[in-house]
Subunit: 323 residues, 2 copies
């Protein structure tokens, strides 16, 4: 209900998703009247989409601690309650991140042995993908929590344990030398070096995030959030510069036409929609956070991430790895 573009994005994505996956159902939590005015029976011939009426919604400014007490009829709370009760297998939201986190911790709970869930996202990198976490759930983290984050993400890298190599894990710092950074990072480094379930690749700097040399980058939520948003801001800034470079005279505008196939290649390889859907990793069941301004395609990608988490049974695999 509370993504920047409203529920029509989620409904379009749900319709596309059920057309792809005949063995899946989607439950839409929200204002029934509003949802029904957008939802088309014709696009759901097998009745895979259900609407659960909710009288409230969590807004982007709502205080997380307030909503958990006073907005139990909200679409966010009700969807997570359905997940907790096993009525659905995963939840996806483009709403208030803080509220989603607090409600998820309360209703879904963390896997035994995991102190806190982390926001984990697949980043666009030179080749393959790199999971980065935490991207904003935890301002401060202990060395043990950073270690738990890395371990959880290393399971995402190779859930079926098919690969010969262990996941390569880096720890975000402001230099690559052993002695760099805070005492906390020094202590975390000790834990990472002792770990045999993943391969610790050392401290990394933020300019190495996109190198593709790592499978996992662990950091606290403050640092991860700054790195993620600085990257998003840079990409948008360059995008605007590219657009304005094509403005001006007729020839420049004409060359834009010529360039169409090239720009399409470029856009596809950087499209944020391809990377939408952050996992609240460490919860007993999959909860996926879509970017607030996700468009239809991006929201569909977030649903696919949720589906994959269920198919791969990631929470169970994390639990087995820990015990």
């Amino acid at each position: 209900m509370s993504g920047d573009l409203g529920p029509r994005v989620a409904i379009w994505a749900a319709e596309k998703f059920v057309a792809e996956k005949r063995n899946c159902d989607i439950w839409l939590f929200g204002d029934e009247g509003q949802l029904k005015s957008i939802y088309k029976n014709s696009r759901d011939p097998y009745h895979q989409i259900n609407i659960v009426h909710c009288t409230e919604k969590v807004s982007m400014d709502d205080n997380p601690l307030h909503v958990i007490r006073h907005k139990k009829s909200s679409s966010m709370y009700q969807s997570l309650l359905a997940l907790a009760r096993g009525e659905v297998d995963a939840a996806v939201s483009a709403g208030n991140t803080g509220a989603l986190l607090v409600m998820s911790k309360h209703l879904i709970e963390t896997i035994s042995g995991i102190e806190r869930p982390a926001i984990c996202k697949s980043m666009p990198v030179r080749e393959g993908q790199t999971f980065m976490l935490d991207l904003g759930a935890n301002i401060n983290c202990t060395p043990e929590q950073l270690h738990q984050f890395a371990l959880m993400a290393s399971i995402l890298v190779d859930p079926e344990k098919n690969a010969d190599q262990l996941a390569r894990v880096g720890l975000l710092n402001i230099g690559t030398e052993h002695a760099k950074g805070t005492e906390l990072l020094q202590a975390a480094q000790e834990l990472f070096m002792q770990e045999i379930r993943f391969s610790y690749a050392g401290f990394i700097e933020a300019n190495q995030i996109f190198s593709g040399d790592l499978d996992v980058i662990a950091c606290d939520g403050f640092h991860g959030n700054i790195a993620l948003k600085a990257s998003e801001g840079t990409a948008r800034f360059i995008g605007e510069k590219i657009q304005s470079a094509f403005q001006g005279n007729f020839l420049r505008k004409l060359s834009l036409l010529l360039l169409w196939p090239i720009l399409r290649t470029l856009r596809q390889s950087l499209d944020p929609a391809v990377y939408n859907g952050a996992i609240l990793l460490g919860l007993k069941k999959p909860v996926i956070k879509s970017h607030g301004d996700a468009d239809k395609k991006a929201f569909l990608q977030a649903i696919r991430v949720a589906h994959e988490q269920v198919l791969l049974d990631i929470p169970q695999k994390i639990s087995s790895c820990l015990h």
Copy 2:
């Protein structure tokens, strides 16, 4: 002596600079034999360039605390000593940042009232420029230090006090709401709100760095370094994607030719060389840190930044503002 591309970059930049500024001298500190083999008398017809022989150099891996005791004959130490003694008016280095900082604090000292120098850089933004600091000198900062950083940079924005408006200052955080972030940022916010020498614009997120809405962005060195390097990494990553999008068939390569003027516009507006030269702000005299991999043009820009700091007498202006 210890920039990634060696002394020839600095010598070329020095030659260009003295050709531009007939009333300036450049002193080159380093291995005389090596420098003289590159330096051409013909490009310095008025003998504005002097070479000061130094028997050692600080390497990129040298421990800052080690070099300050044991590398007093190094080019870096000797150049800063000449600055301390008033033999030169500013110093520029592309070498080891940590060593430059420690030596500068020791030999040049901070302005009275300033606890620590900060690395401050002009960032490429939508319109105008934004000074961001600290970019890596101080891992942890007190609220008072963050406030000093902001105040110093606000003087850079308008050293002659010509503008009608006060400098707009933002504080880097992971959300824009008042209650967001660490206790330390909450305390810093209180100090910033009370300041009348600049206009506090509130917390900002890292995706707003390039918006051009701010004149100054204050942060601790850890957060600033992550934001800066994440941006650099993103820009390089997108640059590579653009290059590879033009590869493949003949038509794509041909279109690169057509696009040359547009790509040049784009490159100029994003060229890191235009933004090279970070100021170690808060020292009694100007010390400028060039990017280690600066090319000739970028190093020239770092010299220009040093020259401007001297002309505008920034350390004196900061001192007057404080007392």
